[in-house]
């Protein structure tokens, strides 16, 4: 499980390396091209090095507006797949610029693992770069929610009395609202078109700030129960400051809880980002995110004709399943500690 999790994040982190193309490059002659078939065998027999053929658009499918079934392989030339090739340049982690890719083929052939979208952009490359944004948004939003939640939860639990009561009243307000309505509402009051970076931080901020209530309540519970433990009282008797008590004795108790919450919240917030971008309220084209990639499927004809465009949805499910089983692991570990 940890291996899968690490693998997923490594692939997304080094998206530029694993993706053969730039996610925004359009190929107007290849709209809705199906995934390239990778061959090992031709007339001469078996080859160790896989190769691909060029997609040529033949006569149209049954409907003029549909590209379904209109692509054919041009078998006259074989294009072997090369590894560690140089291609379009990208930045690793936003710093180091390079053109190294894991695999690629010579032009005019293209290796389109998951086909292309309506603009002929490579779906696989967009999936990786989009995942970078979507997953990073989920993680950042989780961080915001947990940070805000634990600060307010500590304040409420530790100082108690009217601060506690009013803060818990506010959490009740946040918890009882249908979050999606709320999210849309908050989004409505923010500018619609922004640069990607600003949209990203705005989105994560909004998602995180709406989600602070549950972690706050949980942290408050832990603080409340550990505040009057004997060792905390003893440390206070020895003259420990509030900050020291919190840092040394109380917060470590909340750590396991926060970890479990993080594993639960990350997939939920990835889904929140995807939903907003799907609605057109999040990351804008041409920058890919799993959400705006899926929004092409709002047309029924696209939804049922080009199955490979469901790739972001599958990636989202895989990510969610990995994270939620991680949450299960954390949760059962937390239980075994406390008993």
């Amino acid at each position: 499980m940890v291996g899968l999790l690490a693998g997923l994040h490594l692939v997304l982190l080094f998206a530029g390396f694993f993706a053969p193309y730039d996610p925004t490059t359009q190929n107007r002659e290849l709209p809705y091209a199906p995934p390239t078939r990778v061959h090992f065998k031709d007339r001469l027999g078996f080859h160790l090095r896989p190769f691909v053929y060029v997609w040529t658009s033949g006569p149209g499918g049954d409907r003029p507006d549909s590209y379904q079934g209109s692509y054919q392989e041009d078998r006259s030339n074989e294009y072997p797949v090369h590894f560690f090739v140089s291609g379009p340049s990208y930045r690793v982690l936003g710093i180091y610029e390079t053109g190294m890719h894991l695999f690629g083929v010579a032009e005019p052939a293209k290796v389109l693992l998951f086909g292309t979208d309506g603009y002929g952009r490579d779906e696989w490359s967009r999936l990786l770069f989009g995942g970078q944004i979507s997953v990073a948004a989920g993680i950042t939003a989780t961080f915001v929610a947990l940070l805000a939640g634990s600060v307010l939860g500590i304040i409420a639990g530790y100082y108690g009395r009217w601060i506690d009561e009013s803060l818990m009243g506010v959490t009740e307000l946040f918890l009882s609202l249908p979050w999606l309505y709320f999210l849309l509402g908050v989004r409505a009051f923010l500018p619609l078109h922004l640069s990607t970076i600003r949209t990203f931080f705005l989105l994560t901020g909004v998602i995180g700030l709406i989600g602070w209530a549950r972690p706050a309540r949980l942290v408050r519970g832990v603080v409340l129960s550990s505040r009057n433990r004997n060792y905390v009282l003893a440390a206070r008797g020895f003259g420990g400051s509030d900050f020291y008590l919190l840092r040394r004795h109380i917060l470590p108790e909340a750590f396991g809880l926060l970890l479990t919450q993080a594993a639960l919240l990350v997939p939920r917030y990835i889904a929140a980002e995807v939903t907003l971008s799907f609605f057109g309220l999040g990351v804008n084209e041409p920058v890919p995110s799993w959400g705006n990639m899926l929004s092409a499927l709002q047309q029924y004809s696209v939804l049922i004709s080009y199955g490979w465009l469901l790739a972001p949805a599958c990636a989202l499910v895989v990510t969610s399943v990995i994270y939620s089983s991680l949450a299960d692991v954390f949760h059962s570990r937390l239980k075994s500690y406390s008993t």
């Binding site: 249908p178 009051f189 889904a271 499927l297």
Partner: protein, 325 residues
Amino acid sequence: MNYLGRRLVRAILLLIGVSALCFLFTEMAPGSFFDEMRLNPQISPETIAALRSHYGLDQPLLVRYGRWMKSALHADLGYSIAYNTPVAPLLWSRAKNTLLLTTTALLLTWMISVPLGVWAANQRGGLLDKAVNLASSFLVSVPELVLAGALLAIAVRWRILRVGGMMSADYEGLSAWAKLQDVLLHLALPAFILVLSETAVIVRHVRASVLEVLGAPYVQAARGFGISRARLLFRHVLPVAANPAISLLGFSLAGLLSGSLLVEVVCGWPGLGPLILEATLSRDLYLVIGGIMFSALFMVGGNLVADIMLLAFDPRIRRESADAH
């Protein structure tokens, strides 16, 4: 004050809190509906200023909030800038559809998940229990957007149900019976998506709370007296396990309404969801606030129903409520 009175006060405080929060956000927002107009050289700044004062947007926050509050008490939620009509009737015409969808989904969810949860708990570790567990834990981790998309794709691909909107194009010409049938066929897919994702959550809770009660000493005693399994489950265990389940009903409403927004947009069901989305995209201030207020109203109403049910089902709460006098 008795139990229901306390709950009612809480509900009203909640509604006030939500509206205050909405207005706070509008104040913090950097843009407005008129920003696009401002870019148009043919519209003079004076016109925009006049429009702003016409809609009362030039007033300070507290004045606006006070005015809105006053009219909201008369069921007037302001004026939609984009649709150019009062917000309340517009929202109400859509809210009916959302209400139809969510109550259908809610009833079906509970009709399915209570027996299933009890059954799974009854044969703990059995085949059914394992199957329910596996299916629900998978469905819980599938995001609702994906679930909705996948089921929609299946329905469109194999032409199983009617998709898109709430009625067929020839709806007006149909007989009353055919009309009902048509709406039900359109309702089936969005309701099914909601039921599937909600059942996955609730069945686990029902199972857990039944299991907890099953371990109680009085149940073992009852078993010792030779009471039949079915009678034990439904007469002795379920009423006790109902309390956490009914409390859950209140909590699950928020999730149901959010899910409903999403499903409505994906399936084209003409509820509050698509309206709010449009309003968000066109920055139609009062429509957005009104939509949030409607969803909060549903929440609060549903919670009150859950509280009344709790009062009816759980004698412990009746006693507590009587003691308070």
